[in-house]
């Protein structure tokens, strides 16, 4: 297992390098200038800016320079937010995004797993159909619909919860977390149901029943760990998505997270910020895919040691 982790971490290096290289050139090839705007720029200004940000040098030189800088942890200044470095911008959004992602994850897991498990206990009865229909609605209700809908109902009509913000007013973290978590909950619910149905038909569940274990304990102690395997493998990319932030949710709820930069930095052609965000996201992907594999192994003892016993 540890050798496996080490191997995967070593694989991460070329992955990151390729991501950086590809993004670097993709970003430069994209049409549009980081400094262009409605009002025409005087040639002198443009020249001044390009010199200032060293965009007048050959692309390869810039690339090598960039690699050198990031090796030292310097991601450069943002082009758009000229007074801030990329590191500072990401650093400012990171805690918020992670917190939101963590709450959303919690909600997604709680709601998703419990509804999926409940549905699996009595397949093809109302107890199955109700949560599964909700899950399907969750899948077709994207967060840009669900978010405003929740705000309208809970925030404005019922006046139960704040409509926006993050940590300004007590309770303002609830709606964004729910909005972000719900879509994932829908997927998890379906996956959990499938996994549980599979496990509940296994022989060892019969063994547990033969031991006189109560139904709830059978679910909690005997079936859950195995039944969650599909959820775990889904969680790798999902976690990266959750913790990488969401443009939509952050915009709807006015949350100072990172998600908005994926789209905005690209729109602004903020070269350094795009690259910074890409690297950040790539690290998340690598780490969480690895983590998902590790957790899967931890949850499933058979995968823990390299090879199963017996011939």
């Amino acid at each position: 297992m540890p050798a496996f982790i080490l191997k995967r971490l070593l694989q991460a290096l070329p992955v990151l390098l390729i991501v950086i290289t590809a993004s670097f050139f993709m970003v430069r090839l994209a049409p549009g200038d980081p400094f262009s705007q409605e009002r025409a720029l005087p040639v002198e200004v443009m020249k001044g800016l390009r010199t200032y940000y060293k965009l007048d040098q050959p692309l390869v030189t810039q690339y090598i320079e960039y690699l050198k800088n990031i090796a030292q942890g310097d991601f450069g200044p943002s082009f758009k937010y000229s007074g801030r470095t990329v590191t500072e911008i990401i650093g400012a959004g990171l805690p918020v995004t992670f917190e939101l992602g963590a709450y959303a994850l919690l909600i997604a897991l709680l709601v998703g797993i419990s509804s999926g498990v409940i549905a699996s206990l009595r397949p093809n009865t109302w107890q199955d159909y109700v949560p599964m229909s909700l899950a399907m609605i969750g899948i077709c209700l994207p967060s840009y619909v669900l978010g405003p809908l929740l705000v309208l109902i809970v925030g404005i009509w019922l006046e139960w919860l704040p409509v926006s913000g993050w940590g300004y007013i007590p309770g303002d973290k609830i709606l964004p977390s729910v909005t972000m978590g719900f879509v994932y909950a829908a997927y998890i619910s379906r996956l959990a149901r499938g996994g549980m149905l599979e496990i509940l038909s296994q022989d060892f569940i019969r063994t547990a029943r033969a031991k006189g274990v109560s139904e709830s304990m059978i679910v909690l102690r005997h079936a859950l760990r195995g039944g969650m395997q599909p959820v775990i493998s889904f969680m790798g990319p999902a976690l990266a998505g959750l913790l990488g932030g969401s443009f939509v949710v952050e915009t709807i709820f006015q949350i100072p997270g990172l998600g908005r930069y994926y789209v905005q930095a690209a729109f602004n052609r903020d070269y350094t910020l795009i690259l910074g965000m890409t690297i950040f996201f790539a690290v998340l992907i690598v780490v969480f895919n690895l983590l998902a594999d590790i957790v899967a192994a931890w949850m499933n003892p058979r995968l823990r040691s390299g090879k199963s016993a017996g011939g």
């Binding site: 549009g32 007074g83 926006s164 993050w166 309770g171």
Partner: protein
């Protein structure tokens, strides 16, 4: 089996109920309530400010904040936009209208208590004209003698530029030509002063992005000073005790919220989290008109919404075609049914009553004439007319106007227009490279003068972007630039405007309005055509 399941279900339902119940019991004071008590104005401010340095920024959100943090040599009356004293208490203009002598008030102070000297302005303007800084608004200085030459590097010695400080409290500015609107420019953020020791403390003279604009480092000279700036979250300014007119300032703090999304902003306003919004989503305007007209504020805005024609592209190189397209726009319907924000149909390019100038030339709504022109140009009843592409940057409002126009042109002229939205930078790229056929555009005036609009279309002007060129037009504008007499000047501009409306490189659609939601407790916030709101006149008064 089933009873234990029910137990699980019941437990979950109980947990859900407890969660909701605890959520309901949350009771909080809204921003508006607490703001009214403490004189804190909560303001929606569009995008996150990219920077606070007045010599670097170009955006409106930054401008709003800079107006609280800095003060120029002169200021404007909140309602009439008439020039008022700012840092300069008095000023004289020479006979030939080319020399301004400004006398700085002695009690003007930086927020750290330093007195503001005339030399600070020379320093600041030199900084604003340093190419390395990349000041996009450097051209605002071009009326000043040799400023353009210095900025373009043709001149190295700043002493030759027409700005001097003969003593600590006098500033002399020499202009290239009589510029009737020059005083207005002094209230523009690019003319704002910066505190030289602070600039030097945090970086080199011409260095971008230093930390001098951060809370704690920042020194300004406006009625407010920077208290807190959290990225994408909030920017707080508080009343500056060193401001010379501090007695008049009644607000204790202003909270600027960067809210890029209009729907979010509107919901925040409704939940009492904002006093004033930056805008109102299209579809909400009618709702407020109907249900809460008191909160809706619509005021004319110095800006024109128009369409550019690529005059280098067939068949748009034919002015008859351009005219036909321009004539068949039902502007009344667009402002009433599509934009809905009280916009004024625009039949000429310069907005009406721009500092006393109202263009006489008009493009009317005349479908019959449009059809005749189209037929004359070789496309009777729109036959064989190529499907032109109309580009616009991705935005709900632009899309709506484009959809309406598309159908209008189809109905009136039987021609097909393809719409194509582009992301902002691609749109700019295509427009400036004349890689388009029709393009949506807008122009907001920086100062109250028709040349601010008509200058756009001089040959090879950076903002022309239509490929259109007219010698007479260029001459007229050049002449107007030399003319000091306002009446004679306006006559020249009228003629230029007439040429523009004859040749139609652009089709004006409407004159902008500013649509905001304003809480009734806000006082002293006046509507004006430049959308400038000197905060020192604003205060909050809770309605009893």
């Amino acid at each position: 089996m089933s009873d234990s399941n029910h137990k699980i279900v019941n437990r979950l339902l109980t947990a859900l109920f407890v969660l909701l119940a605890s959520a309901c019991s949350l009771n909080y004071e809204s921003n508006v309530e607490s703001g009214n008590r403490d004189q804190i104005l909560h303001l929606g401010n569009g995008d996150e400010p990219q920077e606070l340095d007045p010599h670097i920024t170009t955006g409106i959100p930054e401008f709003h904040i800079q107006h609280a943090l800095f003060e120029g040599l002169v200021a404007k009356h909140p309602k009439t936009m008439a020039i008022e004293p700012g840092v300069a208490e008095t000023w004289e203009v020479s006979e030939d209208l080319k020399r301004y002598t400004l006398h700085l008030r002695h009690d003007a102070r930086w927020s750290n208590g330093d007195p503001i000297k005339a030399g600070d302005f020379v320093y600041s303007w030199k900084r604003a004209l340093t190419p390395a800084l990349g000041n996009l608004y450097a051209y605002m200085f071009y009326p000043i003698q040799n400023a353009q030459e210095y900025f373009e590097g043709k001149l190295d010695d700043f002493n030759l530029v027409g700005v001097h400080a003969p003593d600590e409290y006098t500033l002399v500015v020499d202009l290239k030509a009589p510029t009737p609107y020059f005083l207005q420019l002094l209230d523009h953020h690019s003319y704002f002063p910066v505190h030289p020791p602070t600039i030097e403390k945090f970086g080199a003279f011409g260095e971008r992005g230093t930390r001098w604009t951060r809370p704690g480092n920042f020194i300004g000279n406006g009625p407010f000073t920077l208290k807190e700036w959290k990225l994408n979250r909030i920017l707080i300014v508080e009343k500056s005790p060193t401001y010379w007119d501090a007695a008049r300032v009644r607000l204790k703090e202003i909270h600027f919220y960067p809210i890029p999304n209009g729907s979010t902003e509107e919901r925040m306003f409704r939940a009492g989290q904002l006093h004033i919004t930056e805008r109102v989503p299209l579809e909400k305007i009618n709702v407020y008109k109907r249900e809460n007209p008191a909160a809706l504020s619509i005021s004319p805005y110095l800006g024109t919404y128009f369409y550019r024609f690529n005059t280098t592209h067939k068949p748009l190189d034919d002015k008859r075609i351009r005219m036909a397209l321009a004539l068949s726009i039902n502007r009344e319907q667009i402002v009433e049914r599509v934009t809905k924000g009280g916009q004024i149909p625009a039949y000429n390019f310069t907005p009406p009553d721009t500092n006393g100038y109202t263009p006489r030339a008009r493009i009317s709504y005349d479908i019959d004439r449009a059809r005749a022109l189209l037929a004359e140009a070789g496309y009777p009843e729109g036959r064989d007319f190529p499907a032109l592409e109309l580009i616009y940057n991705t935005d709900e409002g632009h899309r709506s106007v484009a959809i309406a126009l598309q159908e209008m042109w189809k109905q009136a002229l039987n021609i097909n227009i393809r719409l194509s939205n582009n992301d902002w930078k691609v749109y700019l790229d295509r427009e400036s490279h004349l890689d388009y056929e029709l393009s949506r555009a807008g122009w907001i005036g920086d100062y109250l003068d028709p040349t601010n609009f008509l200058d756009l279309f001089v040959t090879n002007g950076g903002n022309n972007r239509t490929g259109w060129s007219n010698q007479r037009y260029d001459e007229l504008l050049n002449q107007a630039g030399m003319t000091g007499d306002q009446t004679a000047r306006y006559e020249l501009l009228q003629e230029a405007e007439a040429i523009l409306m004859e040749e139609v490189p652009v089709a004006p659609v409407y004159t902008y309005t500013r649509v905001r939601l304003i809480d009734p407790t806000v006082r002293g916030w006046e509507d004006n055509i430049l959308d400038q709101h000197p905060y020192k006149y604003v205060h909050l008064e809770a309605a009893e």
